[in-house]
Symmetry: none
Subunit: 215 residues, 4 copies
């Protein structure tokens, strides 16, 4: 049954890759990409140096895979959280932002990694990251477009606002030395939502979202 064997091989291959990527993220968070030697990575991952080259084309490919991995896991969790918030676009937006910050909070260093090492990648790699970022932002963007359409939000450019929200969410990691001492995640999220939604929600509907708008 060669199909079964193939399947087994494929699963093992995936688990090896994961093993390496997890180790890579761990090492790079400690030391940065350039300071991570392939021998150190092999040690951390518990495999031989040679094997790294069986599963990845080289060091940069590992970086790209690690970053994509992180961004993937971000994107996967956004849509479900927004579903749970129901149909109202403002509620969905708030829920999406909240979840995004929560995800970031669980792995602040991973976010820093994407900011720090993006430039290290080849143009092709950078392109893939951008596409993934756009894809991640899609549910937020949809809620914004919906809200504007339904007159619940001011006629703002969704492409602007969605990136603002992402930047502010990233800010929780990028400027954690500033925010962490004065805010909990929960308080940070509430305050940001109150501030941003005040600019986003159409004046006529502000009362309906009082619970979100008041810090």
């Amino acid at each position: 049954m060669p199909d079964v064997e193939d399947a087994v091989r494929s699963v093992r291959r995936d688990s090896r890759r994961r093993q390496v990527l997890d180790a890579a993220v761990a090492v790079m968070q400690r030391t940065g990409y350039h300071e991570m030697s392939m021998q150190a990575l092999a040690g951390e991952a518990g495999v031989s140096v040679g094997l790294l080259y069986k599963y990845f084309g080289g060091k940069e490919e590992i970086l790209l895979a690690a970053v994509l991995d992180i961004l993937d896991s971000f994107g996967d969790q956004l849509a479900p959280a927004m579903e749970e918030a129901g149909d109202d676009p403002v509620e969905r937006l708030a829920a999406g932002f909240r979840r995004y910050v929560e995800i970031i909070d669980l792995d602040r260093d991973a976010v820093l990694l994407t900011y720090r090492e993006s430039r290290t990648l080849s143009p092709a790699g950078r392109e893939r990251i951008k596409q993934l970022e756009v894809a991640t932002a899609a549910p937020l963007r949809a809620a914004l477009a919906d809200g504007v359409d339904r007159g619940l939000m001011r006629a703002l450019d969704p492409d602007l606002v969605v990136y603002d929200l992402m930047l502010l969410a990233h800010g929780w990691a990028l400027k954690d030395w500033h925010f962490a001492p004065i805010y909990t995640v929960e308080a940070f999220v509430r305050a940001q939502i109150a501030l941003m939604l005040s600019g986003i929600v159409a004046p006529a509907h502000r009362r309906r979202y009082r619970h979100l708008l008041e810090p």
Copy 2:
């Protein structure tokens, strides 16, 4: 006249340092810090390798000096621009943000450099950068505090809002691949001001700042 000689020496020394730092920023924007070899830097700066070590302690010290240099030039220009905007805190805030984005626009790569390479620095170096960032933000923070005091702005935490504004301004450089194709600097600034001030200005005074609040 040893005083004169000393002065001459000091001036020459400063000009040498500037020569090196300018070259360093140029090379690092092209290739990143780690990819910049000291020989390449020396070539770009038009000095010998050995001389780099007369003026700086080593490679990392050059990075730190370059980053501080960039941040310094940012901070220097903010306060004057806000002075010109007159006494009204909302107008001052808007003018400060506008100028900040304009400065960033002139040297987007420099901003990227500070985000990318901060982690490369020693803790002491990172600390100095943070302090400089706080100092840079001070005028914006003052305008916010003033606006809240005078009841022109909602009772928001200035420490939150000022970092939001900085993040959004940095966004012009960090996400230029997203914003630049769809916005001019001017349009970007207007849109961001319209969005953020809507959340900041107290409802009772919104009409007064209509010219800023409508995109």
Copy 3:
């Protein structure tokens, strides 16, 4: 059979180290430690630069290993030669000294190396060299102590005499430009033995060792 593999690895490792040390001694005798570049050493040893650092911690560690290696080989040969000379302490001493000079004669440059480069080593390395020197001298010292005990030698301090003998033996290498033109090794050894033993052997027993005392 992992044991076999380990053994093979260990043997290969040892042979590699030897290969490098032999080359190091050769190069350093020609040029001195500081003038020996790691690339030159690698070339002489027929290995790559990188491999040097797999087998040794660095340049200084190679120097230490080389010097210890030389001293080791000295020490190993002294005791057997003295055994052969029988039980008489004077005969043993003479035989030991003779062999010591003969060993030195085979590798004069190695002795010079230990004198020249000892100071280059770390204090810990120097300490190990001293200990090895003391260990090397032990058989000579034992013969002296025995001779004094048995009344065959004057009541001299063995710690003084043994170091005198070693210095004079080293002299064959240190001052070879002086001695080599006027003495063969054999003649040098005979003359030194005749001179020193005259001072060492107790007057009452001098006749018995006439064959050693007359040059």
Copy 4:
């Protein structure tokens, strides 16, 4: 009076050279020749780097001058001390050896320097050092030859014995870690004289030199 000016110049030149050589010996004793940078030497000597090259041809020339300087000062003091000991060759020899060790004791590091760094010098420089060593040894050699001629000493080869004496004297510096803990200079000298003279003095005259021969 150009002669006077020349003389002044010459004296200043000599004092500058001495200033540099003293500094060089001091630095090299601390760190060794190769570790001494010309800039460090200039600093220690209190002159500029450029000036070093006015007074010496280069780094190696400074080493040679320093070593010759040391050896000179050794040689200068030997003959007078032997004169004071009177006409007897055995007494002269003992006095010469004693003074030699005393000189060495005052500057052990200088002796080590000559052993360590001789190989660093060019063949021509090494040649000059050998000649100086022979010249230094001349008074000792004369006493030996005289003693043999007058029948006070055994018919030993003066060229052998004189180098033995020098080696043993140098041993006080070379092996100070061995001797210093167990001997004072005075005790070391007495013991060595007792040992060596026992081998040198003709049996018929041993009683006359009992005061030297018994430790």
